[in-house]
């Protein structure tokens, strides 16, 4: 019989898949970010179904709360330049990419069909779990006992990443040999548009 759990799986799965498809196919990155958000919520629901309450919460907090917001922030910062490309799929030299993409999708579809046809061997069914499986207490206890060293290293990694992000995003404070217009600073800070070549690049990359 089909119960609430089965329905939850179907809904969450469709949510995740649809979000993923929107992410990779939409022309506007903002719409892509919204798709990513849908995927993230879908996967958070699946985590709940899989008795991973703690991870579901983390998924929502970190991905939806931080990562996607950061994406949106950067997209807003870049403004119309964030579109980056003319169409959602590039025109011109894209036959190879389209071939690869199409081929992979075809393989994917084939595998999915094979699986859905149920020709496989024995199913690996989920058994019973400990009552506190995936709870905050259990995962936290594990993190601060067996995973303590890795946990501390992860904190160090995050600090390094934050400092690195600041250092990279600030750019060099020393004077470049390029003029502000050449560096693109002018258009970035003042909204002035400089001439570009046919690829949408500013004219100055020191070619030649």
């Amino acid at each position: 019989m089909i119960g609430a759990g089965n329905v939850l799986f179907v809904i969450a799965g469709i949510l995740a898949l649809a979000g993923a498809l929107i992410t990779v196919s939409s022309r506007n990155p903002i719409r892509g970010a919204m798709g990513l958000l849908a995927t993230i919520f879908g996967i958070a629901l699946l985590f709940l179904k899989l008795n991973a309450q703690f991870l579901a919460a983390i998924q929502v907090i970190v991905y939806a709360g931080a990562v996607v917001v950061l994406f949106v922030f950067v997209i807003m910062l870049l403004g119309p330049d964030a579109l980056g490309e003319v169409g959602s799929f590039p025109k011109g030299k894209s036959k190879v990419s389209r071939g690869i993409g199409g081929g992979l999708l075809a393989i994917l579809a084939g595998v999915a069909l094979v699986l859905l046809a149920g020709r496989g061997g024995a199913h690996v069914r989920f058994g019973d779990v400990q009552p506190d499986h995936g709870s905050v207490e259990a995962v936290g206890g594990l993190l601060f006992s067996r995973g303590l060293v890795a946990f501390e290293l992860a904190t160090a990694l995050l600090i390094v990443a934050v400092i690195g992000a600041i250092a990279v995003a600030r750019g060099k404070q020393t004077k470049s040999h390029l003029t502000p217009a050449q560096r693109g600073d002018g258009e970035f800070f003042h909204g002035t548009v400089v001439a570009r070549d046919d690829r949408g690049r500013p004219p100055s990359k020191g070619d030649g």
Binding site: V111, G120, G121, H123, V124
Partner: protein
């Protein structure tokens, strides 16, 4: 009562007071080294003084606690075990744990007192002496680090820990010799000291390795307990000559009891020599003494502390520590004594002709160290060590006094070399009375004025040199079994030194005593008596005799006053240490005044520690009665030396010396140039190394750079040209490659893996075949080997047991289906040998298998499978019958 309290805080088996002794100087070094620049000079000197002073107090407490516990026969010993450092594999199947552990006993307790006590005085002195220096905090950081390293050396409970301190003091010595590193000569001197010491350290490392091998311990108690194992006979090429000695061992075969080759060399001799090489490096003995005189390039307090009072005596300390090893080899003992004697005489002779006040003292130090090693070499360990202590007092006082004089001269002459030149001094007693008196006291002590400390220590060494004998070790008594190897060796006679060696040493050392008294008082009279000769150095000054001298090119402005500042007595921070050390130099001899007071406090104090070694040291008949007769020549030596110096340099105002130089200029020149030992080394060893280096440069230029580098660069450039085409610069191209790899990996995981493991038991003939598990895997089998799978349905059975008869061959198949329905099949050939263990070896087994396969009329494929099985399991076949061993068989899907 107070002691009980101390013992309850610091129990002997967990003596954390040692951490206080060691930790304070380390803390001082850290604070001064890291924050010194910001702290300012007052704070730096306070930190340094408190660190060393506190360490001294703690050492005193430890010393009193030792006095409380030590009895006449049993040595008190307080240990602090830090942590286990490493394990060393010994000779045989056991591990030797090396601990970071420290201990204090009578020997190290006394030495720690000297190091921290004299160290404190010299720190105090330095606060004034170095006050004007820009590197003030650096100096005190190094000095504190030195004290720490020296304490590690002394208090370390095993040789590796001692070695840490040994290298630490070497490094501090290097840093402090080159303290004014902007002058190249100073940096070179530091380097010379460092490199020369490395040669000695090599000896120490070899000794450690040999001790691990022969004794199986590196801590003091373990070495002492196992020292007798060192009486193993060994072969040192070309000693030992039953068969032609020039034949290398690999032709003559190993040393055996049947072929002992007349060996007289024991491992004790080898260890002794290696240890002594280390001691000779650190304590500046022939042939490695050359670094010490050059080390005077460092600041004078450093010369006093490191290169006179403490570090250079580390070799003597180590000899006393390892006394139980040294006494096992009379040959080593004799060598030590002779080397000490030769060093003492050579250094004393060089000191005659030097004009630099610090150079004279440096050679005097080398000479006195020679006396200490004479004491060690004749078995008078306690006496040699007592000379370390008295020498620390009077030589530190002499150096500090010389520093005070230089300081005074420096105020007038702003030039390092000239302010140290005795020819520019004279009459200093009028300007600096305290320095003069303390310097005189120390001169008298080192020259051996009766009842001063130097008299009691040096003349005791001479007395012992005449009267002591070293017992020939037990190895000579009949057959003897090597404990570690259980080999019985025939009776052997250890090498014994000639009987009159002691008399020769006594006589020549007496000559050295005359020389010591003469050159020390030559120094004293020329510096402190007569007229001050430095007036001529300041430009425009008219000397009392009238007329300009050759030094008027000195860079002073012409409008300066004609008379420069007079030399003056130094400040309190300098004179107080001088007075303390001067008093000790006179009276410290009372601790061990055998001659007149029959006092032997010091001997009794260290006797329990040296008990094992002392049991091998005897004395000639009638030694007690000889004390006075042997003492008189010593007093005579003092009188002759001092009287001679007085006659030459005071009564005749140096005329005899000058005319002597005129008569035999070549002799003066060669002595002045230190017997040209440095030049000799330069021409031989250093030249050889240089040549080697030049050759290496040639090879580098014309082989490595010309051929190897070009070939490599060509290969790199060529492959770069090819690989560059793949570097498209498109992120997507790279991404596509990654995804392709991922796809391949994915296929590997999706495809079913039919891999089987065979557990063979040839005895019972049961072969169990297990297929590896996987996601949703199901199996079906062909157990009976008829080539048909036994059932049409897949099941969960992942393992089958096959029973085979003798020589039977069977081909088992398994088919695996995974969750996606993909299938894979695998065949395994099983074969049971005819006999257990297949003793005919692989060839026989293969033959058997072929016959069996033919008779069973199996297909060609089966035969190939069998051969593959045999190849894979081939190495294990002979032993396969003994125990079942898993043999992985099978392969890819």
């Amino acid at each position: 009562m107070g002691m009980d309290g101390l013992f309850s805080i610091f129990p002997p088996e967990d003596f954390t007071l040692l951490c206080v002794i060691l930790g304070l100087p380390l803390l001082g070094a850290f604070v001064n080294g890291v924050f010194g620049k910001r702290l300012g000079k007052e704070a730096v000197s306070l930190m340094a003084l408190v660190a060393v002073g506190g360490s001294f107090m703690a050492s005193c407490a430890a010393f009193f606690m030792l006095m409380q516990r030590q009895t006449e026969t049993e040595a008190a010993r307080f240990v602090w075990h830090g942590w286990k450092w490493l394990d060393i594999s010994g000779n045989g199947d056991f591990q030797i744990p090396i601990e970071i552990a420290f201990s204090v006993d009578a020997l190290s307790g006394g030495m720690a007192l000297i190091v921290t006590g004299v160290g404190f005085l010299i720190h105090l002195y330095s606060t004034e002496y170095m006050a004007e220096d820009d590197g003030f905090h650096r100096f005190f950081a190094y000095l504190n680090l030195f004290i720490f390293s020296m304490l590690v050396l002394i208090l370390g409970d095993n040789l590796p820990v001692l070695f840490i301190g040994w290298e630490g003091v070497g490094m501090c010595s290097y840093l402090l010799i080159g303290f004014w590193f902007t002058e190249e000569a100073n940096a070179v001197a530091g380097k010379k000291a460092f490199v020369t010491n490395r040669i000695g350290d090599f000896g120490l490392l070899v000794a450690m390795a040999l001790l691990v091998w022969h004794v199986g311990a590196l801590d003091w108690q373990g070495i002492e307990a196992g020292a007798n194992n060192l009486l193993t006979p060994i072969k040192i090429y070309p000693l030992g000559n039953g068969v032609p000695a020039w034949l290398p061992d690999f032709i003559r075969g190993p040393l055996t009891p049947e072929d002992p080759r007349g060996v007289r060399v024991t491992a004790a001799t080898l260890v002794g020599f290696a240890l002594f090489l280390g001691c000779a490096g650190k304590s500046a003995q022939l042939p490695l003494y050359v670094w010490l005189p050059d080390a005077m390039a460092g600041p004078t307090p450093v010369s006093a502390l490191i290169h006179a009072a403490t570090m250079v005596t580390a070799g003597v300390y180590l000899c006393c520590r390892m006394a139980a090893v040294f006494v096992l080899s009379p040959a080593t003992m004799a060598t030590i004594a002779i080397v000490g004697l030769a060093t003492a005489l050579l250094a004393a002779s060089i000191a005659f002709a030097q004009n630099d006040i610090k150079k004279v003292l440096a050679y005097s130090t080398v000479s006195q160290l020679g006396y200490m090693f004479i004491g060690i070499g004749v078995g008078a360990f306690a006496t040699g060590f007592f000379h370390v202590i008295t020498h620390a007092f009077f030589k530190a006082c002499l150096f500090l006094g010389a520093g005070s004089v230089i300081h005074a001269m420096h105020a007038r002459i702003h030039d390092v070399d000239r302010s140290q030149d005795m020819r520019n001094m004279g009459g200093m007693r009028n300007f600096m009375p305290i320095t003069h008196l303390t310097f005189l006291a120390s001169c008298l002590a080192i020259a051996g004025l009766p009842l001063t400390s130097g008299f009691f220590s040096k003349d005791e060494i001479l007395f012992k040199a005449y009267t002591s004998t070293i017992a020939t070790p037990q190895v000579s008594d009949g057959e003897w079994i090597d404990r570690s190897t259980q080999v019985t060796w025939p009776a052997m006679q250890a090498w014994t030194p000639p009987e009159d060696l002691g008399r020769w040493i006594y006589t020549l050392a007496l000559l050295g005593a005359v020389m010591t008294a003469f050159y020390m008082f030559r120094l004293y009279f020329r510096v402190f008596w007569g007229e001050f000769r430095g007036w001529t150095i300041v430009r425009g000054w008219v000397a009392p005799a009238g007329g300009h001298h050759g030094h008027d090119d000195h860079e002073h402005d012409s409008d300066e006053p004609l008379d420069g500042p007079k030399p003056h007595e130094s400040a309190l921070q300098i004179t107080v240490p001088l007075v303390v050390l001067g008093v000790l130099a006179i009276f410290a001899g009372g601790l061990n005044a055998h001659a007149f007071f029959h006092s032997h406090l010091f001997d009794d104090w260290v006797a329990p520690v040296l008990a094992t070694a002392s049991s091998s040291v005897g004395e000639i008949e009638g030694a007690k009665e000889m004390m006075m007769p042997l003492l008189l020549p010593g007093i005579g030596a003092f009188a002759i030396g001092v009287g001679g110096a007085y006659w030459v340099y005071v009564m005749q105002r140096g005329e005899p010396a000058a005319s002597f130089v005129e008569k035999v200029p070549w002799l003066h020149r060669i002595v002045y140039e230190k017997w040209r030992v440095d030049e000799l080394y330069e021409e031989t060893f250093i030249g050889a190394v240089d040549t080697l280096g030049d050759m290496a440069v040639w090879v580098d230029q014309y082989v490595v750079d010309a051929v190897v580098a070009r070939v490599t660069s060509f290969a790199v450039a060529a492959s770069g040209t090819i690989l560059r085409t793949m570097q498209t610069g498109r992120v997507h191209a790279y991404g596509a490659v990654m995804v392709a790899g991922l796809g391949a990996l994915g296929w590997f995981f999706i495809a079913p893996q039919a891999v089987v493991t065979v557990l063979a038991d040839d005895d019972s003939g049961v072969y169990s075949v297990t297929a590896s598990p996987g996601l949703g895997y199901q199996y079906r089998w062909d157990e009976d080997g008829d080539g048909e799978l036994d059932s049409d349905d897949f099941g969960d059975k992942a393992r089958v047991d096959v029973q085979l008869g003798r020589s039977e061959v069977r081909l088992v198949q398994v088919e695996v289906k995974n969750a996606l329905g993909f299938r894979s099949i695998e065949q395994i050939g099983l074969f049971r040998p005819q006999r257990d263990g297949a003793s005919d070896g692989l060839a026989g087994a293969a033959q058997e298998a072929k016959e069996a396969a033919d008779s069973a009329a199996k297909s060609q494929k089966a035969l190939q499978d069998i051969q593959r099985v045999l190849q894979q399991a081939g190495g294990n076949l002979p032993g396969a019958g003994k125990q079942p061993a898993p043999k992985p068989v099978g392969g890819a899907p």
